[in-house]
């Protein structure tokens, strides 16, 4: 049977495009038994009594998800094609793609979309780089290592709402700690939350503070899996630190990098409470910081325009799918190129 459960180093067998994308999404460690291998396929003769159908095992989960996720989303789709403003009028009228047209025609939406993409790019990028740096820093045995690692993930452990409110204290323009410290070194008052151009970066700072530990944690775990011998062999061959990093560390960390980027992207596109609590409004000064999350909030729960809200929900879904798909494509292309070398 299969004895190669502990993965050896290697590049794995040739894969088709579909397998590539799957393996990148689901995991990229080659030379592991395929999911479902090593056990009798459902249709084989060895499927005797005492076995249980995998469909049966999956049924509860799938049914639950269908009811709780698929069905509501279908309802939302339905609503998004209608006009439904419960406060104004009890009726619900069909408007086809009217809501979507309204979204596209709304100049605010363009702003919202660019804000969200900007926030995503900046935050995920910063978290990625800082997380990697921190992981590299911590990837050494030193006294107090366990304590340091625990302290580093403290930001991640705080409830985002509380973290946002704490940071609100720091970035307050008049009384905040940040501006006070800056004034001590002679820098003038920075309009963190009251300037149109700084409001989104401020939100980004809070997000990055809170979520870099996630990246650091994932990368650190990945770094610790890299066998020492690879580095030793490379050093014997005269490799510099940069070459070690580029040709050993980076390839080994590729799955982690993808996890970090995908995870964080999916979570940041939906940012809501950070903006709401740090800026005390849906969009900050002049809606300069309004993101998709608060845009939806405004329409659905301030104006009680559920038709528009539903349409925006689908817009968010679409944006997420597109961004994730792009990232997957980019990462598989990168993998292909590397394999070809």
């Amino acid at each position: 049977m299969h004895t190669e459960h502990r993965a050896a180093v290697g590049d794995g067998k040739h894969r088709g495009r579909k397998e590539e994308i799957l393996s990148v999404w689901v995991g990229a460690r080659p030379v592991r038994p395929e999911i479902g291998e090593g056990v009798t396929p459902v249709r084989s003769r060895a499927f005797r009594a005492g076995q249980v159908s995998p469909y049966l095992l999956l049924a509860p989960s799938v049914m639950y998800l269908v009811v709780m996720i698929a069905y509501p989303w279908l309802v939302t789709l339905f609503v998004s094609l209608h006009r439904w403003e419960p406060i104004r009028s009890p009726g619900i009228t069909f408007v086809g793609l009217g809501n979507y047209q309204q979204i596209l025609a709304d100049p605010l939406f363009a702003r919202v979309l660019s804000n969200t993409l900007y926030l995503t790019a900046v935050s995920v990028g910063a978290e990625f780089l800082l997380g990697l740096a921190i992981a590299l820093l911590l990837n050494r045995d030193f006294p107090g290592k366990a304590l340091v690692r625990t302290l580093v993930i403290v930001p991640m452990m705080m409830a985002p709402a509380i973290a946002a409110l704490t940071w609100k204290l720091f970035v307050d323009v008049e009384y905040g700690l940040l501006n006070y410290l800056l004034s001590l070194v002679g820098v003038g008052k920075v309009l963190w939350t009251s300037s149109g151009s700084l409001s989104i970066p401020t939100v980004a700072i809070v997000e990055v503070w809170q979520n870099t530990p996630f990246a650091a944690l994932v990368f650190l775990a990945g770094l610790q899996a890299i066998p020492e011998e690879q580095y030793e062999a490379a050093v014997v061959d005269g490799a510099s630190w940069w070459q070690c990093f580029r040709f050993i560390t980076v390839p080994w960390l590729r799955p982690m990098m993808l996890i970090v980027v995908l995870f964080r992207t999916i979570f940041i596109i939906r940012t809501f409470e950070t903006v709401l609590l740090v800026l005390s409004s849906s969009g900050g000064p002049g809606n300069s910081a309004m993101v998709l999350g608060t845009y939806l909030f405004q329409y659905a729960f301030r104006f009680w325009n559920l038709g528009m809200g539903s349409a925006i929900a689908y817009a968010i879904l679409l944006v997420t799918v597109v961004v994730v798909a792009l990232q997957l494509v980019v990462s598989t292309t990168g993998k292909r190129a590397e394999g070809a070398i």
């Binding site: 459960h5 689901v26 990229a28 460690r29 592991r32 038994p33 395929e34 999911i35 479902g36 291998e37 056990v39 396929p41 459902v42 005492g50 076995q51 995998p54 469909y55 095992l57 999956l58 509860p60 989960s61 639950y64 998800l65 709780m68 996720i69 509501p72 989303w73 309802v75 939302t76 340091v148 625990t150 580093v152 993930i153 403290v154 930001p155 452990m157 409830a159 985002p160 709402a161 509380i162 409110l165 204290l169 720091f170 009384y175 700690l177 503070w209 530990p213 944690l217 994932v218 650190l220 775990a221 899996a225 799955p255 996890i259 609590l277 939806l296 539903s310 929900a313 997420t320 799918v321």
Partner: protein, 288 residues
């Protein structure tokens, strides 16, 4: 040799800087819980409240032991209800989602069947649905069955979001376990499910723990779903931060005391569980 010492020194310095940045806001929140209302938000900022004012903590603790007390208009016995709602919602959803996910993950990990790949992708794909966008569908759904503002609706919602994540992680952990063990158990007369419960689950216990912890945190720290799906009776603890916003502004003292109290258990948790969490995050995802 000198360069190595310098590099080491620089490394420690950087680590120290990182720690400072990571810990400082939490520390500040802790200190603020001991400040008088005026001290919390003044210029120049007060770092260490001397002498420490314990009103905020007295309010929080007395409130927690049931005594009626108000602090600048805030109702304290409400905190107990909020905590209870949070606990019920988080624990129930974690339990429920794990129960369902264990079977599902086992099926994905150990069987080869038609539609396995597609189902797997779909399940994991639902994780991609941003909760803020899920809020509206949930709102519409729960409204239609009159379940808004109940603990039940929170449990149902959190479970729905937890299951895909739990399945994703558990599949990775299950695959870590060699099939031979289950097969020998079945040769000895065990049924498939028996093998699952007697062999796989005990061995995958650390993975189960990691998954449970993360699911729990997901529900416990959630803001968006609770914000929209509850209004009065089923409010959770994370939303309490909103309570502290009064007409005169934010009551920083009590809020910080509350925030500290809410964060400390999670921190202690983290101390013990951090190894498992890191392992869980990477194993579950990499080995797919």
């Amino acid at each position: 040799m000198r360069t190595r010492a310098i590099l080491q020194g620089a490394r420690y310095l950087l680590i120290g800087a990182v720690l400072c940045i990571a810990v400082f806001p939490v520390l500040w929140m802790f200190l603020t819980s001991f400040k008088r209302p005026l001290e919390a938000f003044t210029l120049p900022p007060v770092f260490l409240p001397v002498p420490p004012a314990t009103e905020s903590w007295q309010w929080l603790l007395w409130g927690m032991s049931g005594a009626e007390m108000t602090f600048g208009g805030l109702r304290t016995e409400r905190i107990l209800l909020l905590a209870w709602n949070s606990i019920v919602a988080s624990v129930s959803s974690t339990g429920l989602s794990l129960a369902l996910a264990i079977f599902g993950a086992y099926a994905l990990a150990r069987f080869r069947f038609r539609g396995r790949v597609v189902l797997g992708l779909m399940i994991i794909g639902t994780r991609m649905l941003p909760p803020i966008a899920t809020v509206l569908p949930f709102f519409v759904l729960f409204r239609s069955v009159n379940l808004l503002d109940t603990r039940l609706c929170l449990v149902l919602a959190y479970t729905a979001l937890s299951i895909p994540f739990a399945i994703w992680m558990l599949v990775g952990f299950f695959r870590e376990i060699p099939v031979e063990l289950e097969e020998s158990a079945m040769v000895d007369g065990c049924t498939r499910l028996g093998a699952l419960f007697r062999v796989v689950l005990p061995l995958a216990a650390p993975g189960l723990a990691a998954t449970a912890i993360l699911s729990f945190l997901l529900a416990w720290n959630d803001f968006q779903l609770a914000f929209f799906l509850t209004s009065d009776k089923a409010r959770t603890l994370t939303l309490a931060s909103v309570i502290f916003t009064g007409e005169e502004g934010i009551h920083w003292g009590p809020m910080s005391a509350f925030g500290t109290a809410a964060t400390i258990p999670v921190l202690v948790f983290a101390l013990f569980a951090q190894k498992h969490i890191a392992r869980g995050l990477t194993l579950g995802a990499v080995k797919g």
